[in-house]
Amino acid sequence: MGELIKVGMADLKVCISPDSITTLGLGSCVGIAIRDPITKVGGLAHIMLPDSTQIRNSTNIPKFADTGIAELVRQMSLKGASPYRMVAKIAGGAQMFAVTGKNNLVTVGDRNVEATKKKLRELHIPILAEDTGLNYGRTVVFFPENGDFLIKAVGKGEVII
């Protein structure tokens, strides 16, 4: 068994099998797991906001879907992963509370998922599976060995996508 590497909020990490990566309690944030099946290099980003260009203070690269995913791919490439082989799985983007304001009718969770998909499409990284939306938090563990993405939620047990 390898090491279990932890990714915080607005953070990203890269590892190589047999190590695995986790992030705890994704709410409206989105966890993006990317893997190169040949080199078994894997990475996980925990993004909070969709778009770095919409924010005045946007120097925190892993905080945003657009910059975070690009940085994850860059760091994975440095570890020997090929962007041409990369595949992704995503989770999170929940709406934790059924309260929405006048000026943001689309919830930030949905916007995070949309922005994540857009960036992955732009980079030609296919999404193999997703567990997104709804109204509950998710803890995820990603295994670069076989690409399993384990998702745990309170009172809902575990699923692997």
Partner: protein
């Protein structure tokens, strides 16, 4: 240009925010005591400016199950507010309100969830009321919603709102005591302009 910068809060601002938190939490404690019909004491709240990476640890772990009440604020300021406490504290408060001994763990029933929402409503209402009378500003809260989930998942909501402004989150931690110690956390999230208005109304 707004005066508020979360990555570099001056001591003066910090003290004022602390005092606002103190008064708000004091009012909330009184409301809680009236509702539960018992004596509730409060320690001086701690105001903390946290990095996102510290948020889970401040709650006793990212996967700690918490009850969170969240609502939007409109009027002279706009933004949102959250009150949260550990699941066992929520069970204790609900048991107390309903006059039954809660078992302290497990899933909440429908009626317990409704009672919890009401407790959240009263606590946040009292908090905002004191803020309103202190600043002479109109503050209208929305109907709150409740979530029982992992601390990090619940806190992703305020973290994202703070995340649009900087890389820190302002947390007010209050310890209530009736017969046991009850930790409660308040998070007030005015948007940036509202921060200026809020602090401006106090002569800053």
């Amino acid at each position: 240009m707004t005066k508020m910068n979360f990555d570099n809060v001056s001591q003066e601002y910090f003290d004022v925010l602390k005092e606002l938190g103190n008064i708000g939490a004091g009012n909330a404690t009184t409301a809680l005591a009236q509702m539960l019909q018992c004596k509730v004491d409060m320690k001086v709240p701690q105001v903390r400016l946290l990095d996102f990476s510290q948020v889970g640890e401040a709650m006793g772990g990212e996967e700690q199950i918490m009850a969170g009440v969240y609502l939007l604020v409109e009027g002279d300021i706009s933004g949102s507010m959250m009150f949260l406490c550990e699941e066992k504290v929520a069970h204790h408060l609900v048991g107390k309100l309903m006059g039954v001994e809660g078992n302290g763990t497990g899933a909440f029933t429908e009626i317990e969830l409704s009672a919890l929402k009401e407790i959240g409503n009263i606590i946040t209402g009292a908090y905002l009321n004191s803020l309103s009378s202190l600043t002479k500003m109109k503050i209208i809260p929305s109907v709150p919603d409740l979530s029982i989930d992992m601390a990090a998942a619940i806190l992703s909501v305020p973290a994202i709102e703070f995340g649009a402004m900087g890389d820190k989150l302002l947390l007010i931690q209050t310890q209530f005591t009736d017969e046991i110690n009850l930790d409660g956390f308040f998070i007030l999230m005015p948007d940036l302009d509202s921060y200026d208005r809020l602090l401006g109304s106090l002569g800053l």
